[in-house]
Amino acid sequence: MKKSKLQDPFEQARINKGYGEMNDQDDPVVMLLCHKDVRKSAHNYKTFISGATPGRIVVPSEVNIRDTRQVPFELDPPEHGKFRALVEPWFKRPLQSEYQEQLKEQIYTAINTVLSTGTVEVVNEFSLPIQSHALTLLLNIPFSEAETWISWGTHVFRSEETALDGDKAAILYDYIDEQIEHAIQHPGEDLYSVLLASEVDGRKLTKEEVKGVMVLTFAGGRDTVINAVTNSIAYFAEHPESLERLRNEPEIIGNAVEELMRYFSPLTQMGRVVTEDTQVCEHAIKADSRISLCWASANRDASVFERPNEIVLDRKINPHVSFGFSHHNCLGATHARQIMKTLIAALAEKVDSIEIVDYKENVEDLDEFQRKVGYEKIHVKFNSLTK
């Protein structure tokens, strides 16, 4: 029972000193590991800023592969708030029943397909299609557009050979440029058109700002959702009793989603640039250096979570930070949660058991730490509940 396990590589460092150190392309990062420090620093946008050189708050840094500022992600208050307010209602659309019905249909179709197939490679043949199809709903564009995104493979910025792949980024950027031009010529009801028609400070958004929002929507919601879905399949494969429980107690699905998100922490960390000499965990940090908010470590902090390394499906108090905290908390969380809820309900209804055939783990190399975030590949066989 450990193929689906995600270890906590940060425990010792978190207990002993509270931070970790990672060298990343000669721009080192002090990783904050304790729940309290992570939340406090996420809240303190004056000392720990997001509005640095585009790409610098991402770990590994993307400064060498892009110039476009991601919006609202790489802005600080009060600028941040203006853009955030603009897009927030759009990102709440997953709460509408029509959206939920369509998502449900997509996910049931995906499950029916794998139930009637032999062995399935989950990352590419299940999670990526689910993520891509669901994104057509979020952007409000035709379902068929997902084929293009599926053809890009699992990593928009990463490839098997190198952690940061400029060519892959170019594919996404060129694609988004084209789509923006298309929306200018043929305005519709899609997110591109809505952004192009929006205003901040009494002026229209620039093309570059629209691009900044769209790039973020594609990049931020891809690997994260894919890992959340894939890890869930691995977990249920090894815990059929959990699937059974969710079948009998559907009212705990909401809690289960939050708990799986805590345990998986699909986004390991996010950086900030320090504006003044300061200290965290009695460790001096210099102005213009980088820290990171390590969500994955905070989520296993034993001073906040009882039995932190166990999945307690109906955990009642669960102040996890998988979707971040404070100003920049995840805009896509409503969408991601809806995908997870629908997926779990559908699995509970249709699937009896899942067998893992073979797998290759996806392990992030964080210098001092090695963290499993999911799988490069995982072959499984889904068995139907109703024969």
Binding site: K36, E258, V304, I317, N318, P319
Partner: protein
């Protein structure tokens, strides 16, 4: 049955009734503006923040440690702040007035 008054940030007053679940759930089910309940009530999102009327604090009680840690990092929080998802509805809450923080 508890009758609960919500005053939203645009100063609208809504009186709703409930007999089970949490204040957050009651607000979401009644479409009270400013209470989203994103995390479903597990104390992770703070989108259920309310200010309890000073005279009703004896009915609701004070925030728990975990709740306080969360509210401490909310710029709108004060001594009367609570997370709606941590307030279980019972007859004891009948008549309270809550001001929605967002």
């Amino acid at each position: 049955m508890a009758k609960i008054t919500f005053i939203t940030s645009d100063n609208e007053t809504h009186i709703v009734e409930g007999d089970s679940g949490s204040v957050m759930e009651l607000a979401v089910n009644n479409g009270i503006q400013g209470i989203d309940g994103d995390c479903g009530g597990v104390c992770s999102c703070a989108t259920c923040h309310v200010h309890v009327s000073p005279e009703d604090i004896s009915k609701t009680g004070e925030a728990s440690e975990i709740e306080k840690d969360m509210l401490e990092l909310d710029d709108n929080a004060d001594a009367y702040s609570r997370l709606g998802c941590q307030l279980a509805i019972s007859d004891a809450l009948d008549g309270i007035v809550l001001r929605v923080a967002k």
